[in-house]
């Protein structure tokens, strides 16, 4: 990348050459391999944003690092191994260099060892300040000894370079080219979160709670600890949502006690820098209360306590569900047949026990296979960018449709047909036969077991993988339990009830809890998407059910291809899914999300601001980001209020909104000019007046009094 650099970064000989030939100097400083020369694996070069930095001001200096393919460099905290870059400066009087800013890194796990690294070209930025006493045109020779570690997955090479360049004081002009390039690098720096996070350690687990609006999206969340020794880097991280907080749960390496600095990744190369305060082990449970899993990245061992309770409930539910399945019309006959054959066989009791165990294994393995397929599907989904998040209204809607169908199926509106499979395997004698009977009991029972299987599949989609799999195990265990008991308790075999119409009645009754689940989901959907979303969801479900009814009618008539109406049913569901409002403000009132824009605004830009001020209009500019909880709270409490909107409309105030969710370079500069490193920032320009910076915490009065 440094081949296109306009700024002279030159070793002395090269400088001379450049001057002599009057060539535009584009000769990058080359690093030397610490071990015997040759091309370094990471090429380093320096570039100043302004070729002529102005005395008395600060200019950004970039150390650009270009790793060769397969090589990587390290973040400020390298992780379990590795070393960050070090710079030893030799500076002339009047020149100062500030702290390094690192872009958001990537994770790289090699052999269970976590590394925080950069594999693509990256730039470390630092401020360079010239003293005001320096006269323009002064040449200031600067030299630096840079050391860094370059590694591949296999080997590491410490590299170093002595780089020197001359800073020529000037008027501070920045070329458009340089500005664009530096803006690109700056966009990858973490933005300051602005709110304090908290953490607590209990035993070998740490929970870090980070203020983050419940409605704000986050991709690939990961907490990179900057402070060493508190977090176990190689432990998997589980990310949970707890209202307007994000809770990271992972392994602890100490009992805490120190402020924990770090960077929260919120998207590709996007992050928030933050500091978390230790609130003590007593606060540990509180940090997980009511938190909901937001992805399956975590392992089961890192399951939150709160999540554990939910999970145990789901596991117990799965066992009971499996147990209930036994008295379903299409499972019970199999079970009773098997039980009768056991009773009749009268053979050795050890055979009965062996058969019972094999039958259990068959069922559980079949259920595990189903669960595995579900997890594979989910992994594939994540790969192509689906986020299976329970708080996504679309997932709620899909579950709503699924549960509606299940409920109507149980109620007898339509049937799922029969799965005809040969029972050659199951008729084998001995343990093998019993094993396949088990697997087939699960498979053949599909028409009846589908409702419970589907519920388990729904759970597998939203729970951590281990928990999802265990739900399937629970279902299988429950299904196998009666036969298992019969195998070990011979007297019970004679007490088996006979199959009969009572099984159908039972199935109908089971539709009631399913309908109640549908109600709960509808309520959740309404909470998330408001009345409109609720109407769309329910309409979709109704149309879906109508088509299923048609399917049922055709089945009763014995029509061929009775499933044809399922196609429009699915189409209706998909159509509803597409028009479902996804990010609409909820009526829950717990989040800081604003419900629509009461105060209309235009996007902020310096030119728009200048022209509005030239027109003599009062201007209110506010700077916000989706991840900024203070911003959202201020907007809900003061900015997006009717009183404010009325007052501003009365005084013809122009409203400019700067969205810094992604680090917009123009907004960054504006923030810096106004002494801020991040959002929120509220500025008011009276007609003809200068910028008036408003407090961080706004009220309606603060805003309305501006124009009264």
């Amino acid at each position: 990348m440094n081949r296109t650099m306009p700024f002279p970064l030159i070793q002395p000989v090269a400088l001379l050459l450049a001057l002599l030939t009057m060539l535009m100097p584009i000769i990058p400083a080359q690093a030397q391999n610490a071990f015997g020369g040759g091309e370094p694996n990471i090429t380093a070069a320096f570039e100043l944003e302004s070729e002529a930095p102005k005395p008395g001001e600060t200019v950004t200096l970039a150390l650009t690092m270009s790793p060769a393919p397969t090589w990587h460099g390290y973040w400020a905290n390298p992780g379990d191994a590795g070393i960050p870059a070090t710079l030893k400066w030799t500076l002339p009087e009047g020149v100062g260099i500030g702290e390094l800013s690192y872009p958001v890194p990537d994770t790289l796990v090699i052999g269970g060892i976590m590394n925080f690294i950069y594999e693509e070209d990256y730039a470390l930025l630092m401020p360079l300040t010239l003293d005001a006493s320096i006269a323009p045109g002064t040449e200031l020779p600067v030299s630096v000894k840079a050391e860094w570690l370059a590694c591949t997955d296999e080997i590491c090479v410490p590299e170093e370079d002595e780089l020197s360049f001359t800073v020529i004081a000037g008027d501070g002009t920045v070329s458009d080219d340089a500005r664009a390039r530096f803006d690109g690098w700056r966009a990858r720096l973490p933005a300051p979160l602005g709110n304090e996070a908290s953490y607590a350690v209990s035993g070998e687990t740490i929970r870090i709670s980070i203020p983050f609006p419940a409605t704000s999206e986050i991709e690939e969340p990961y907490f990179f600890p900057l402070t060493d020794g508190v977090v176990d880097y190689s432990a998997p991280q589980t990310v949970l949502r707890q209202g307007d907080n994000l809770v990271i749960e992972t392994g602890a390496r100490s009992i805490g006690g120190v402020p924990l600095q770090g960077v929260l990744r919120i998207g590709a190369h996007q992050g928030l820098s933050l500091t978390a305060r230790d609130i003590g082990a007593d606060g540990f449970a509180g940090l997980g209360d009511g938190a909901v899993a937001m992805d399956g990245a975590g392992s089961g061992s890192a399951l939150a306590d709160a999540g554990m309770a939910t999970f145990l409930l789901a596991f117990g539910g799965a066992i009971i569900g499996g147990l209930l399945l036994n008295i379903f019309p299409c499972v019970f006959p199999i079970l009773s047949l098997k039980a009768i054959s056991l009773a009749k066989a009268g053979g050795a009791e050890s055979h009965a026990r062996r058969d019972a165990l094999a039958y259990t294994a068959g069922i559980v393995l079949f259920c595990l296979a189903l669960g595995g397929a579900m997890l594979a599907l989910r992994a594939f989904g994540a790969e192509i960018g689906w986020g299976f998040q329970l708080q996504d209204p679309r997932i709620i809607f899909v579950l709503l449709i699924l549960f509606t169908a299940i409920a109507f199926n149980l109620a007898g509106l339509f049937e799922l047909g029969t799965v005809a499979v040969g029972d050659g395997l199951a008729s084998q004698s001995g343990a093998r036969g019993a094993f396949w009977t088990g697997a087939l009991a699960a498979l053949v029972a599909t028409p009846c077991s589908a409702p419970f299987m589907a519920t388990a599949m729904g759970a597998a989609i939203v729970l951590p993988p281990l928990a999802g799999m265990l739900i399937f195990v629970g279902l299988g265990l429950g299904l196998a339990l009666p036969f298992l008991i019969l195998g070990f308790a011979p007297p019970l075999r004679k007490m088996m009830p006979r199959p009969g119409p009572w099984m159908d009645t039972f199935r109908r009754i089971m539709s009631v809890p399913m309908f109640i689940s549908v109600l709960a989901l509808a309520w959740l959907l309404g909470q998330q998407t408001g009345n409109e979303g609720l109407m769309i969801g329910l309409s979709g479900a109704m149309i879906f059910a109508l088509f299923l009814w048609w399917v049922g009618r055709r089945q009763q008539r014995g029509a061929e291809r009775s499933w044809l109406p399922a196609a429009p049913a699915l189409a209706a569901a998909v159509a509803a899914l597409l028009v479902l409002p996804v990010a609409a403000g909820g009526s829950a009132g717990v989040s800081a999300e604003t419900a629509g824009e009461t105060l209309a605004s235009e996007a902020f830009s310096e030119t728009r601001l200048a022209s509005l001020r030239a027109e003599g209009r009062p201007v209110f500019a506010y700077f916000t980001a989706d991840w900024c909880i203070t911003c959202k709270a201020n907007e809900a409490a003061a900015v997006q209020r009717q009183a404010t909107a009325d007052a501003f409309a009365g005084a013809d105030v122009a409203v400019l909104k700067g969205d810094w969710t992604r680090r917009d370079a123009e907004i960054t500069r504006y923030l810096e000019e106004h002494g801020r490193s991040g959002v929120p920032l509220y500025v008011y320009y009276a007609p003809g007046g200068e910028a008036k910076i408003l407090p961080q915490v706004l009220t309606v009065d603060t805003l309305t009094s501006l124009v009264s």
Binding site: A81, G111, G112, P236, L375, L466
Partner: protein, 208 residues
């Protein structure tokens, strides 16, 4: 056909389920806790157990001859001197290579013996831990990564060899050698003042 399909799905499910159940856990050892026992083969093909050195102070050093940070301390003679001083005080020094077969720093026993002679190692044994079991049990992350076990079998130090995390030999004279200092304190019957530090170097080249 059905049979094959069923078997395939059962195996897939079982594998996936099993994989989720045995999520790897890398429990590091805490200072003050009893050091985990182990038995490894040395460069001479003998089995060496930590229990063989009961009652003695033991130093564990994670090693990878290809790692520049290890080379810093061996090419300068710093590690050998530290080993010699420990040996003189009756301390048992075990150098452990947890690199997997085929990874950087993997040695045959012959190569190891040649290296030990060539570089004048003063450690009691050069041990192979190719499956990484011991390295992971101790939570060894880097080469070098140092551990000290006192005479009662307690872990009393873990971390780097010194406090200058560079690959530059010139940084050795000005650095605090944590192992030397800790061994002095143990000998004097004092508590180890710096009981843990951040290890630095290349990552241990575990198989997975």
């Amino acid at each position: 056909m059905l049979k094959q399909t069923l078997i395939a799905t059962a195996i897939t499910g079982a594998t996936l389920g099993g994989y989720a159940l045995i999520a790897p856990s890398q429990a590091a050892v805490q200072n003050g806790a009893e050091a985990r026992g182990f038995m490894l083969t040395n460069a001479d093909g003998e089995r060496v157990s930590l229990r063989d050195f009961k009652g003695k102070t033991v130093v564990l050093e994670w090693h990878n001859p290809g790692c520049p940070f290890v080379q810093k301390h061996y090419n300068s003679g710093n590690m050998q001197q530290t080993q010699a001083a420990a040996k003189a005080d009756g301390v048992v020094w075990l150098t452990i290579n947890s690199g997997a077969a085929g990874k950087q720093g993997d040695l045959t026993a012959d190569e190891a013996r040649a290296m030990i002679a060539d570089q004048d190692f003063n450690s009691a044994h050069y041990l192979f831990d190719r499956d990484g079991r011991v390295g992971k049990a101790y939570g060894a992350k880097t080469t070098p990564h140092m551990y000290i076990i006192d005479g009662t079998g307690m872990l009393v130090y873990q971390g780097g060899i010194d406090d200058k995390p560079t690959a530059n030999q010139a940084d050795i004279p000005g650095a605090r050698n944590h192992v030397t200092e800790a061994l002095k304190e143990i000998k004097a019957g004092k508590a180890v003042s710096v009981a843990s530090s951040r290890p630095y170097g290349c990552s241990v080249k575990y198989a997975s």
